[in-house]
């Protein structure tokens, strides 16, 4: 087990190294780094100062080492607009995004799984066709458009839901959360549902496909032949097998959810890191942009790592690697 984790950790580090190279060279070779790090009102002396500050007179590999050195210390430069370290801004805004993404994940799982089970149990029933049609729509309709329609229907027309902001928050161990106030929940519902739809569609498809496969497996027939009840078979014998791919995909998609949060946060003015990114782009706050990109990449790689470990806990065949007969 530890062997597996160590191996997987080294892999993650390698991917991270590759990604820093990509972002660094993306910023420095494809884009003009001076342009990226300078504010829009910068004149020539100011530009020269930035070139010196950034160490752009150094050879490129040395620049990269400096960049990595700063990165390891968590230093990604100061935001132009706020004048504080970009990293601290991200950390300050992160709980809102994580809260939103987490709620979306929970909704996707708790709505998608039962729907997928229903669709998988009776694949030719009308209910199944409706569910699959819904999944197909949720999968293909752009997220921002769904958010828009929700605002039109529930906020503008019906006036049930607030269209923007986070509502009241509760301070929990220094982290502000909307989940625990009525007003906060009220604000959270629409963005969370909007963000959950793609994942929900995916959960439905995976569950249904898994059901179709596992239900006909010999070990399920054997469990039935031993008189084990249908509900027990479904909730343990089938579900344990289905959950493995679902957990994997959900985990891998969680990074995508954080990325998609950019869209949802912009629509609902949810004050998370995604909204911050769009605002930063609008005012060309470049250190903040770079910090966000690197931060998301790092988080994404770590998420993949965690998921792989979780996966190995769920599926004994992976954990024991070579032992499979």
């Amino acid at each position: 087990m530890t062997d597996f984790i160590v191996r997987r950790l080294l892999q993650a580090l390698l991917v991270l190294a590759v990604m820093t190279v990509l972002v660094f060279f993306g910023v420095n070779v494809i884009g003009n780094p001076v342009y990226i790090f300078a504010s829009s009102e910068c004149d020539q002396p100011c530009l020269d100062a930035i070139i010196r500050d950034l160490g752009l007179d150094l050879p490129i590999w040395e620049q990269y080492l400096v960049f990595i050195g700063n990165l390891l210390e968590g230093d990604l430069g100061n935001s132009f607009t706020y004048g504080v370290p970009a990293m601290s801004l991200i950390i300050e805004r992160l709980p809102a995004t994580l809260e939103l993404a987490f709620c979306a994940l929970v909704i996707a799982l708790f709505v998608g799984l039962p729907l997928g089970v229903v669709a998988g149990l009776r694949p030719n029933a009308l209910s199944s066709k409706v569910i699959m049609g819904f999944s197909m729509l949720a999968f293909s309709v752009p997220v921002f458009w769904i958010g828009l329609i929700m605002i039109i229907v529930f906020s503008v027309t019906l006036g049930w839901m607030p269209a923007v902001g986070r509502g009241d928050t509760v301070n929990l161990l220094g982290v502000h959360l909307s989940l625990f106030t009525i007003d906060g929940l009220h604000h959270l519902v629409m963005p969370a549902i909007t963000l959950s739809l793609i994942m929900m569609a995916m959960v439905i498809r995976l569950t249904r496909a898994g059901m179709r496969e596992v239900l006909f497996a010999d070990y399920i027939k054997f469990a039935r032949a031993n008189g084990i009840g249908e509900s027990r078979i479904l909730s343990l014998h089938v579900m344990r097998n289905i959950l493995i791919p679902i957990v994997t995909v959900l985990g891998m998609e969680f990074g995508g959810v954080i990325a998609f949060a950019v869209v949802v946060e912009s629509i609902f003015s949810w004050p998370g890191v995604g909204k911050m990114l769009i605002d930063a782009i609008a005012v060309l706050d470049r250190p903040l942009i770079v910090a966000y990109l690197l931060f998301v990449v790092i988080m994404f790689v770590m998420l993949n790592l965690i998921i792989d470990i979780l996966y190995s806990l769920l599926d004994p065949r992976v954990r024991l690697g070579g032992n499979t007969a």
Partner: protein, 294 residues
């Protein structure tokens, strides 16, 4: 539809394809939008990009209004006084253009990479597929976001970003099919006859990959159009001077709270129809061409 079925070289597949009424409807809708995109300059009375033809005094008129010259605004006007119908038709043109062009370039790159990986095998295959895996492990929206932030706005830039996002899917799919094909006897025989590598690749292996590629291309195009719209909606995609459907929706977003729904909702519905019809087409193509494709 019947004409197409008759002239098609493989009428069997066509007939199976046309058996689904949903797919036929999707085909009609999608071809309709393609025709609109091609004919845009001839079927609109206003060029929404030409500021001389747009009257700011006519801004935010509801559907069914008229300009002071008597020209009809069937679907109303937007914040700049543009005729929504004309703007949407040009928006369809831009959205489809970006989707199709990026899809074709990605298809080309992905096909070459996939074919080379499958045909050469060995370390070439390993290296290429590692890159593909690495890229596919990142969500497309994230990769696209990074790229447009680095590259900036513009039709060419968004096409580059969409190509980068898509090529890996094509490469992996083509490699998979090509691997199966190059294991077949006829490829071995061709090799034995000392037929050139390129000839084997393009005359023997490639044609057998085409059905699968068509399916992936259709789905990818839908995804690309959706992604472009999302980026444009965020103000990161196409420049405001050439509004795609996504940008039109974003422009209308500001007027939503005041009840001027048409500016956002109408282009949204069009976008929705394009994406859904393309997805239905892809689904149906997959079912008819290759039932084994997951």
């Amino acid at each position: 539809m019947n004409g197409a079925a008759l002239t098609s070289p493989t009428p069997g597949i066509w007939r199976v394809f046309l058996r689904s009424p949903t797919a036929v409807a999707a085909l009609i809708v999608f071809s309709g939008f393609c025709a609109i995109a091609v004919l845009a300059p001839w079927i609109t009375w206003q060029n929404p990009y030409d500021l001389a033809q747009v009257d700011i005094m006519d801004s935010l008129l509801p559907p069914g209004s008229e300009s002071w010259t008597g020209a009809p605004y069937y679907l109303g006007t937007d914040g700049q006084g543009r005729d929504m119908l004309s703007a949407m038709i040009y928006g369809i043109r831009i959205s489809l253009l970006v989707g199709v062009v990026s899809g074709l370039i990605a298809l080309l790159i992905g096909t070459i990479v996939g074919l080379v990986a499958a045909y050469r095998g060995g370390w070439v295959d390993t290296v290429l597929m590692r890159i593909v895996d690495l890229q596919l492990s990142f969500p497309t929206i994230l990769v696209a976001l990074i790229l447009v932030v680095i590259l900036g706005r513009g039709v060419d830039k968004i096409i580059i970003a969409l190509v980068v996002v898509q090529w890996a899917y094509f490469a992996r799919t083509v490699r998979g099919v090509a691997l199966v094909e190059s294991a077949r006897e006829y490829v071995d025989a061709a090799r034995g006859l000392k037929i050139g590598h390129l000839r084997i690749l393009f005359l023997h292996i490639l044609p057998n990959c085409l059905p699968t590629m068509l399916v992936v291309a259709t789905m990818q195009m839908a995804a690309a159009i959706s992604l472009e719209a999302t980026l444009s909606f965020l103000g990161l995609g196409l420049p405001p001077t050439r509004p795609s459907l996504g940008l039109l929706i974003a422009n209308g977003f500001d007027y939503l709270q005041s009840g001027r729904y048409w500016i956002s909702v109408l282009p949204g519905l069009v976008l929705l129809s394009i994406i859904v019809s393309a997805n239905v087409l892809g689904d149906r193509l997959r079912d008819t061409l290759n039932p084994h494709l997951s």
